[in-house]
């Protein structure tokens, strides 16, 4: 067997099969189960290591040749694949509870497999094209056939498409820079091209305006999935660049620019979240702020860089899934997600309201919740580097906390005589319950993630060694 076939080709084909042959109501179970199996296989069977099962010797080889280039998933990728497909399974299982249809699971599986291909392709800069193809696949999910496309989806398509040429061309220029490191002009040009490419991909300030727009005009669950998947794989891709081109890490101006971009995202995301009156847009700005934290983590001149980045990325998948699920449940009950429509919703949908608030608090770094340990680790490193950056990042998180408190106030703003009742159905109760428990478990016992995170620095030859 071959790792790229198992974790790239088969999920892609499975997505096509589900799309073509499975009724919409069965696809969450099928897709979720399939993703869970892939996660377990990644966890149990190490890649490129021969295992003896009775008289049978089993080995998953790590690479495959395709049109003269390699797709490689090696032993260190195992925990990462387990996390990716585990979180994807969570999203797929939640599809039914969120009421999301329109082939989310089938296309979602194809997107995850393409994004997995982006971390396997060599040379790794070709990942930009795979990310672009995955971004295009999300369009049918964001715009159902019965809905006119809004401005958000058009901007999303433009920005993602613009990113690809910048990154591909910068990759070619970077090779030249490595050959003659003293050429300041070429270094600046390559750095600028690379920066522009990642600014479009990550949605660096002010290129993130499509995110709040999408949160308003598209399904919150689908947009949440997009906000989880794309930045996660983009971050892994960016870490690849930092690993491959040592001079990027050793150029103080470039590192300062990366830090500034991250701080701008955290501070502006926090500020805009604090002043919103639409809980979908609040989620969008919070996701932006968290991507800012990931960017700051990637700029740390520390050996813990990779660990902290993944500590931020892994709980993020759970937080966004819980938040998006709760938003979807609330959206089915109210006309819009504006504060004016949601007053007192906690009395009629207590579980969805609680899950939403907890996910939000977790993303602000509230103690005992999933986002807390990663924030502490980040603060610890950041405080030693720059108090100014720490201060602005703190202001951003404060903005997110204000947004959470405002949302909570709106949710409980009901008349006295309105009774408390649970209107969520069983699948929703189960999925929200699992999500809430997960948020607390990851917050109180962060060591659970240790087996996954421990070997991830090995993915990168130079970073964090």
């Amino acid at each position: 067997m071959n790792a790229p076939i198992i974790w790239i080709l088969i999920p892609f084909l499975m997505g096509i099969l589900i799309f073509l042959f499975l009724p919409e109501r069965h696809s969450p179970l099928a897709g979720g189960t399939f993703a869970t199996i892939l996660a377990i296989v990644a966890l149990v069977f190490p890649i490129d290591v021969a295992l003896l099962l009775g008289s049978i010797s089993l080995k998953i080889s790590s690479s495959i040749q395709f049109f003269g280039r390699s797709f490689v998933l090696n032993t260190a990728d195992g925990p990462l694949l387990a996390v990716i497909y585990g979180l994807a399974a969570l999203w797929f299982f939640g599809t039914h509870a969120s009421g999301t249809a329109n082939r989310f699971v089938s296309i979602g599986l194809m997107i995850v497999s393409l994004l997995t291909a982006s971390i396997a392709v060599e040379p790794f800069l070709f990942a930009a094209v795979l990310i672009e193809i995955a971004a295009m696949l999300t369009i049918p999910l964001l715009v159902p056939p019965y809905q006119k496309p809004g401005k958000g989806v058009v901007r999303f398509l433009i920005y993602q498409t613009l990113a690809m040429p910048f990154i591909l061309f910068s990759g070619w220029m970077l090779a030249g820079v490595e050959a003659s490191p003293g050429d300041l002009g070429a270094t600046t040009q390559a750095g600028a091209m690379l920066g522009m490419g990642f600014a479009f991909l990550f949605g660096v300030f002010p290129l993130y305006n499509w995110i709040p727009m999408l949160m308003e005009e598209s399904s919150p669950y689908v947009t949440g999935f997009l906000l989880w998947a794309l930045p996660t794989f983009t971050a892994i891709f960016a870490l690849g660049f930092l690993d491959q081109y040592t001079w990027i890490r050793n150029t103080p101006q470039l590192i300062s620019t990366i830090q500034l971009a991250g701080v701008m995202m955290v501070a502006s995301g926090g500020f805009f979240a604090a002043v919103q009156r639409h809980i979908g847009r609040i989620m969008g700005y919070t996701a932006i702020a968290e991507v800012g934290l990931v960017i700051i983590a990637m700029s740390l001149p520390s050996s813990e860089l990779v660990s902290i980045t993944f500590m931020l990325l892994i709980p993020r998948g759970l937080e966004l899934a819980v938040w998006a699920l709760a938003l979807s449940i609330l959206k089915r009950r109210v006309y819009s997600l504006r504060f004016s429509e949601l007053q007192g919703i906690a009395r009629s949908h207590p579980l969805a309201a609680a899950a939403l608030i907890l996910a939000h608090l977790s993303m602000t770094g509230f103690p005992l919740l999933a986002g807390f340990p990663s924030r502490i680790a980040l603060w610890q490193e950041l405080a030693g580097q720059s108090l100014l950056i720490s201060f602005w990042a703190f202001l951003g998180l404060l903005g997110l906390l204000i947004a959470a408190i405002r949302t909570l106030a709106v949710f409980v703003m009901a008349k006295e005589q309105v009774p408390w009742q649970i209107n969520e159905d069983w699948p929703q109760v189960i999925m929200l319950g699992i999500g809430i428990i997960g948020l607390f478990v990851l917050g109180m016992f962060p060591q659970i993630l240790h087996p996954f995170i421990r070997n991830l620095p090995a993915l990168f030859e130079h970073l964090g060694q």
Binding site: G99, A101, V129, Y146, L157, T161
Partner: protein
């Protein structure tokens, strides 16, 4: 000498088609110009890539044109949306924009040739014209078809330049998929909103 002359004709064709794409409001002319643009791009791409790879890009481009054309033909009774009133709609404004792009391309071409010798002036000029025209296109419109045309123009320009420095079949294939994907996504976005909601899927 003759090949160089034909290359400059291709550049002139690119200038004409990108101006047409920007100015015309008739989707038939736009798609015709896009098809001609792919022909010119094919010639410039084959200066550095094998004929077969250039042909693949040409065929992919024409498939995109066909997909967009058939979709637009099927919804010919689209209501006119007046969403771009903010921008100047005059043709002269757009001609001036293309002139600026042409001047910028003319000024930059020789510098790029000096930095990356061997690319060829027509290849660089044609590529920069397309990239600039694509960016201008994206800057002055928010209509779906026009946005897709702008993105395809920009990508074609990039492909000409990138083809000169990277000859991987895998990348060429991925870029072809990207072009085709943009065409299909564009077609989908054009027809989205014209179908009634599926009650089973909505529920």
């Amino acid at each position: 000498m003759l090949i160089n002359f034909i290359s400059w004709i291709a550049v002139a064709l690119i200038l004409a088609t990108s101006t047409t794409l920007l100015i015309t409001r008739d989707w038939r002319f736009s798609l015709g110009a896009l098809a001609a643009q792919y022909l010119a791009a094919f010639w410039l791409i084959t200066r550095h890539l094998p004929f077969a790879m250039g042909s693949a890009k040409l065929i992919t481009g024409w498939m995109v044109v066909a997909a967009l054309g058939m979709t637009r033909l099927g919804i010919s009774n689209l209501e006119e949306e007046n969403v771009e009133s903010f921008w100047p709609r005059g043709q002269w404004f757009k001609v001036v924009l293309i002139l600026i792009v042409t001047l910028a391309a003319a000024g930059t071409t020789s510098r790029i040739e000096a930095a990356i010798p061997g690319l060829g002036l027509p290849v660089i000029a044609g590529s920069l014209l397309l990239i600039g025209a694509g960016l201008v296109h994206l800057g002055v419109t928010s209509e779906i078809l026009q946005v897709i045309l702008g993105l395809l123009t920009l990508l074609t320009g990039f492909e000409i330049l990138y083809g000169a420095v990277e000859s991987s079949i895998l990348v060429a294939g991925f870029l072809a998929v990207t072009n085709l994907g943009l065409g299909i996504v564009g077609s989908y976005l054009l027809i989205a909103g014209f179908y009634p909601a599926d009650t089973e899927e909505q529920a």
